[in-house]
């Protein structure tokens, strides 16, 4: 009886019902989610006293000045940015044919198999995968072994001798780090891309062919523009995940610092919370810039 009364009360007052449902998640979202983010941002406007090593709680841009004027810090940002762009491009290039196959051609079991195959690696521990990759890429690892068996050691050595990205072995070079990043974030590119491609009706492709477009023209004029929102969504994932990651660069790759590692070091051993906070603002700014550029190129026009 009382249930019925309450049900009727809310049925007649849909706004009240909506409030009842929305207030708890909004409280969580507002305080915990955004609140902590703003607390973090606020920290970046404090500075650390060089003598006492205490945080000085007065608004200042000194920390940001330190971030943009010290060449070492700028190097870290540029290094991370280049890696993020390279990883995003590679993910997009690898994901496009796979996502196209999943969305347009695979049916039934094959489709399920592909979706599970793409997501399976995400169900395993992240750390296990990173350390596994370090072994795979090591000087005595299976990749070096297979290359040697195939007589391609020379090729591998040429790659590792490349200035800037090379190193003594794959596991201690930027090439290796790049491979691990691409492996880790590929599902985040494939899934939104496949979702976008699935939404393109088959009749649009038929219409394009019907009007005289060869398959390559249909792909360029119809499929790609309609897949772009999915590619944009996927690239935001791969881009931001690379910008913020600190485990992959510390386990695999050359010794240079990345943004994530810098945040980790500054807020931990160095105890410089303001600089750590300022570093964590960098990816946010870069992603905003990225989204602006994507929009300028019409990435979201088809939404």
């Amino acid at each position: 009886m009382i249930v019925r009364t309450v049900s009727t009360f809310f049925y007649r007052r849909p706004n009240g019902y909506l409030c009842l449902l929305l207030i708890p998640p909004l409280l969580w979202f507002g305080t915990v989610y955004l609140g902590s983010l703003f607390a973090l941002l606020a920290q970046s406007f404090y500075r650390i006293d060089d003598f006492t090593a205490q945080v000085v709680r007065e608004p200042t841009l000194a920390t940001y000045r330190q971030l943009v004027t010290q060449p070492a810090n700028v190097d870290i940002v540029v290094r991370t940015l280049i890696m993020a762009i390279a990883v995003t491009l590679a993910c997009a290039i690898i994901a496009l044919p796979i996502a196209t196959y999943m969305a347009r051609y695979a049916r039934g079991r094959m489709k399920a198999l592909f979706y599970v195959g793409v997501m399976l690696p995400m169900w395993t521990s992240y750390l296990v995968k990173v350390y596994a990759w370090r072994l795979l890429l090591a000087k005595e690892g299976i990749i070096a072994w297979v290359t040697a068996k195939l007589g391609l050691t020379g090729l591998l050595e040429t790659a590792l001798a490349a200035p800037g990205v090379g190193g003594p072995s794959l596991s201690s070079s930027y090439i290796g780090m790049f491979i691990v990043f691409v492996y880790m974030w590929l599902p985040f590119m494939i899934l939104p891309m496949a979702a976008a491609l699935e939404r393109v009706p088959a009749s649009l492709l038929q219409a394009s062919a019907d009007l005289g477009a060869r398959p390559a023209q249909t792909f360029r004029n119809v499929v790609l523009p309609l897949a772009v929102p999915g590619i944009a969504a996927g690239s935001v994932f791969t881009f931001s995940l690379t910008l913020g990651d600190f485990i992959i660069p510390s386990v695999v790759g050359a010794p240079g610092y990345f943004i994530g590692m810098m945040v980790y070091v500054q807020q931990g051993t160095a105890g410089n919370i303001p600089l750590a906070a300022a570093f964590s603002v960098v990816p946010i700014v870069l992603i905003f810039v990225y989204l602006r550029i994507a929009r300028r190129f019409g990435a979201f026009d088809a939404l």
Binding site: Q206, D210, L211, N221, L226, D301
Partner: protein, 345 residues
């Protein structure tokens, strides 16, 4: 004269299903040809074979005398108006219409000019800058038409093009499509499940049933002399007596059809008029349509038949209501004798 489209013993199988089953027919240039059938009868499969989205498993599809069975859609001089219009959502109306010339390498100024001409032809001259999502269903339909016509195809395929429009708009578009076809002189192949649409627009109609053509004829012929029970029911909405029922009514096993407007209705107490055939039954329902009313009568022999009674005659039937005992009767020569279904013509 070479046929615009010819099917020679064409079959298309999907697993065990014969979507198109050994079909042969020819369409003359400039003809308005309707492909009529219920869903799953193979009419859309035929259209896909003409457009080139699909290839026959057996037989040949010829366009203008050339075997095109292996030619992809982008190399056929055929264009399609899709059921869902299939307009590109990321392009403006003008870009949609100009798409054909664009992929064929026509320069930007020329293709924009011909796209504008096409939009004028379908009376959408002022809408070129809009996106398809901003248009009404009828306008989208016209854009799809303009986009298909810009390539000057020899054959225009229309796949249930009016299916999504409301009744009034459908009737307007029917008249417009027909006059457009006359003006342009293009062969139209019009796929529909609506027999009224096919009858009112087409020069000839192919009635599809289970992957085969039951009858291919001009609309009047199809309506007056259906060859099979399927055609009689589907096209004419006629009452059909299959052999068992025919035997009870007329004493012969030859199946026949009687159109509803040829059936008269009397109270069972009134004797049947001379020179008629009759069958007793009871009234199941009466649907009033204004100028006429449709009486559903359950025959004592089992089937439900219907009689289309003009308002004038209906007045004489005062007192007959649902459940009343009646007699259906029709002139002896109104019966159309039928052959078995499924023969390809």
């Amino acid at each position: 004269m070479t046929a615009a489209i010819e099917f020679r013993d064409v079959s298309r199988l999907f697993g065990d299903v014969r979507a198109v089953d050994d079909v042969s027919f020819a369409i003359e240039p400039g003809e308005f040809f309707a492909v009529l059938g219920p869903s799953g009868s193979g009419k859309t499969s035929c259209l896909r074979l003409v457009a080139g989205f699909d290839a026959p498993d057996r037989g040949q599809v010829l366009l203008d005398g050339q075997d095109v069975s292996a030619v992809p859609p982008y190399d056929r001089n055929v264009n399609t108006v899709f059921q869902d219009y299939a307009l590109f959502p990321h392009m403006t109306v003008l870009e949609n219409v100009a798409y054909g010339p664009r992929v064929r390498g026509v320069n930007a100024a020329t293709r924009a000019r011909s796209a504008r001409e096409m939009l004028d032809l379908v009376q959408l001259g002022s809408q070129g800058g809009r996106r398809p999502a901003q248009l009404s269903g009828g306008q989208r339909q016209r854009v799809a038409l303009a986009r298909a016509l810009i390539n000057h195809p020899k054959v225009l395929l229309l796949d249930e093009p009016l299916g999504a429009l409301d009744l009034k708009l459908r009737e307007e578009m029917q008249i417009e499509l027909k006059s457009l076809q006359r003006r342009l002189g293009i062969t139209f192949v019009y796929v529909t499940h609506d027999q009224g649409e096919a009858l009112s627009m087409a020069d000839r109609i192919a009635v599809f049933n289970k992957g085969r053509i039951d009858q291919l004829a001009a609309p009047r012929e199809l309506y007056i002399r259906p060859r099979t029970a399927f055609v009689a029911r589907f096209v004419g909405g006629a009452n059909v007596a299959e052999s068992a029922l025919a035997n009870i009514i007329s004493g012969s096993e030859q199946p026949f059809a009687i159109r509803a407007e040829n059936v008269a209705i009397q109270s069972e107490a009134v004797p049947a008029p001379p020179n008629t055939v009759s069958a007793p039954g009871s009234v199941l329902a009466v649907q009033y349509h204004g100028a006429a009313s449709r009486w559903q009568v359950k025959l004592d022999a089992g089937e439900v038949w219907s009689a289309l009674i003009t308002e004038e005659k209906a007045r004489a039937l005062n007192g007959l209501t649902v459940g009343a005992r009646v007699r259906l009767s029709w002139p002896r020569d109104a019966a159309v004798f039928l052959s078995a279904s499924g023969g390809s013509s």
